[in-house]
Amino acid sequence: MADAIRLTYEISPDDFTRAGEASSDVKSKLKRLGVPPEAIRKVSIAMYEGEINMVIHADGGEITVEITPEKIVMILADKGPGIPDIDQAMQAGWSTAPDEVRSLGFGAGMGLPNMKKYTDEMKIDTVIGVGTTITMVVNI
């Protein structure tokens, strides 16, 4: 069996206009692979939401994507403030996004709920003041 294809993306906090580039690159690669369309849709939505979150809440970070013929694993690691109450953050509509990004249509409080909805597994490791690592899996 082939090794996993491993892709790494630095998510820059400085340029909001570049948010979403990593997930669109992953999407185009998955299309080249002939991954079923439904799995591509799930990965691109979940990863996009996660990527935007990293820019809005955590000053960027790093995303690692591992693709094997069986599944796609996305690891989103940031050194942000951490999530004080995961249950609350998982509620649809709950958001701590600042007003300036809400005006762009972000911060609707659907980020984490959508990430969970569109993935087969999701794990959140968070430490206040240290950072958050979210691992998401989409099975092919």
Binding site: A2, I5, G20, R32, G34, I67, I140
Partner: protein
């Protein structure tokens, strides 16, 4: 008919092998191989961008010649709404329509009239399918083809309604048969088109088994002759037009959407913009949208590559022309209903996949990633592929080699000449020498000569080959 039929072709005589088209093609369907452009028919969506950009006029659209109307006993012209936008100071559509009749057509049937039927059917469809929103317009054949090969998740959002050209053809054929009593094959239904994409639609339609359009003429071919006949019509033209504002508006971007009486629509034009919208639609970045109108050409159909007028000037003319028209004149009656819905489904065609199965694609993507790191990343196009990444994909598909990269070749030559000079140095100071070194030296010289030859082949004028 071949499901990857396409109407944009290359004239190898005129092609100089430059990189203009490969750089401009939105689906990266063109490669320059052996000094000539080649179009990959699976990737091509017939948008016509290469026709627009080619400085040597080597890209051509295939369509019928004007004298094709002589092949039929009775002909009906189907003018696209964009045709009306091509004339200066035109105040009455009837002048165009009567001009077409003087030109030799027995009758005319406006595509804009059928467009009003399609608009009405779309309004009803949206009301009845609130769960499938947003619906994506299927009027531009290039857009439908693009979605078919690149956006599988959006296929279910395609509006399953025939485009105005098809509804017009069905109604025109029915009317002609009734009025003349002739069998269908003696009647020619002839569309006057702004773009090659419609030629493709007629030859290999999506959504219907067989198109009722028999021949396609280019607006730019019809235009000069028609102009003369329009003068002969004069100002007092007989009233033959059967369409209003809604139908005529389909000629430019946003026109189709404006006929739906909703504010929740998006209209994008120009193929690059269309692709960006489709990417975002696929990622569900829009909410509360009912309808998405997409046109491959800038400005909509008036920007088609077979038109003569600047699309922005054409838009002004279209707006002026429709100013005092009734909102609509053609309505969805029982006679038209049967021609409206799609009769065949659209299947996803995964042409951009790197291999035949996931495992093979997987291996190949790994190779592509590795190759991309080695290639210079300049996207210079000298290899014949539009980007280094496209070359890497061609290499893993077995359609190109690393030696097609001019920088790779240069590097190799440097390496070989360095090695040979070390060897020569060793021979000079006596550390190595004698006859046993000679074959090694000969081998080096042979390899350098081979690489040089390869480089020469790449830069040689293809016409002198």
């Amino acid at each position: 008919m071949d499901k990857f039929y396409h109407s944009v072709r290359l004239d190898p005589e005129l092609c100089k092998g430059c990189i203009n088209c490969i750089k401009r093609c939105p689906t990266q369907a063109i490669r320059v191989r052996n000094g000539k452009a080649q179009i990959n028919s699976k990737f091509c969506i017939d948008c016509g961008e290469c026709i627009r950009i080619c400085p040597h006029h080597a890209k051509k659209a295939t369509y019928d010649k004007l004298d094709t109307i002589k092949q039929y006993e009775y002909t009906v012209a189907l003018p696209a709404p964009s045709l009306y936008s091509q004339f200066n100071n035109l105040e009455d559509v009837n002048i165009v329509l009567n001009g077409l009749k003087l030109m030799g057509f027995d009758d005319v049937f406006e595509v804009s009239a059928a467009a009003e039927i399609v608009s009405e059917a779309t309004r009803t469809y949206i009301k009845q399918h609130q769960g499938d929103l947003p619906l994506i317009s299927t009027a531009c054949p290039s857009v439908v083809r693009l979605i078919r090969v690149r956006f599988p998740n959006l296929i279910e959002h395609l509006l399953p309604i025939n485009p105005p050209i098809e509804v017009a053809a069905c109604l025109a054929a029915e009317k002609a048969m009734k009025e003349t009593g002739l069998p269908r094959e003696k009647i020619g239904i002839i569309f006057i088109s702004p773009c090659p994409s419609k030629v493709t639609y007629v030859q290999a339609p999506l959504g219907t088994e067989k198109s009722q359009v028999d021949r396609v003429l280019a607006i730019k071919d019809v235009y000069p002759q028609l102009l003369t006949y329009m003068k002969a019509v004069g100002a007092e033209a007989e009233e033959v037009s059967t369409s209003g504002k809604i139908g005529i508006s389909w000629g430019s971007s946003g026109g189709e959407a404006s006929g739906l009486f909703t504010e929740s629509y998006l209209a994008a034009d120009g193929i690059e913009n269309v692709i960006r919208v489709l990417e975002d639609l696929e990622d569900q970045k829009f909410t509360n949208l009912e309808f998405v109108e997409l046109n491959a050409c800038n400005g909509g159909c008036i920007g088609g590559v077979l038109t003569v007028e600047n699309p922005y000037v054409a838009e002004v003319k279209l707006k002026r022309l429709r100013k005092y028209m009734p909102v609509a004149r053609r309505h969805l009656d029982s006679g038209a209903e049967e021609y409206v819905p799609w009769t065949t489904e659209i299947q996803f065609e995964p042409v951009f996949r790197l291999g035949d199965n996931v495992m093979e694609s997987f291996f190949r993507l790994e190779q592509v990633e590795r190759l991309c790191k080695r290639l210079p990343g300049l996207d210079c196009g000298s290899c014949g592929a539009p980007t280094c990444k496209a070359l890497a994909e061609d290499i893993v598909r077995g359609e190109a080699s690393e030696r097609d990269c001019i920088y790779y070749l240069r590097e190799n030559l440097h390496k070989l000449s360095q090695e040979v000079s070390v060897l020569a140095g060793d021979m000079a100071d006596g550390t190595r020498g004698g006859r046993e070194v000679l074959p090694v030296l000969q081998d080096y010289i042979k390899r350098i000569a081979e690489e040089m030859e390869f480089l020469d082949d790449k830069v040689k004028d293809p016409e002198n080959k």
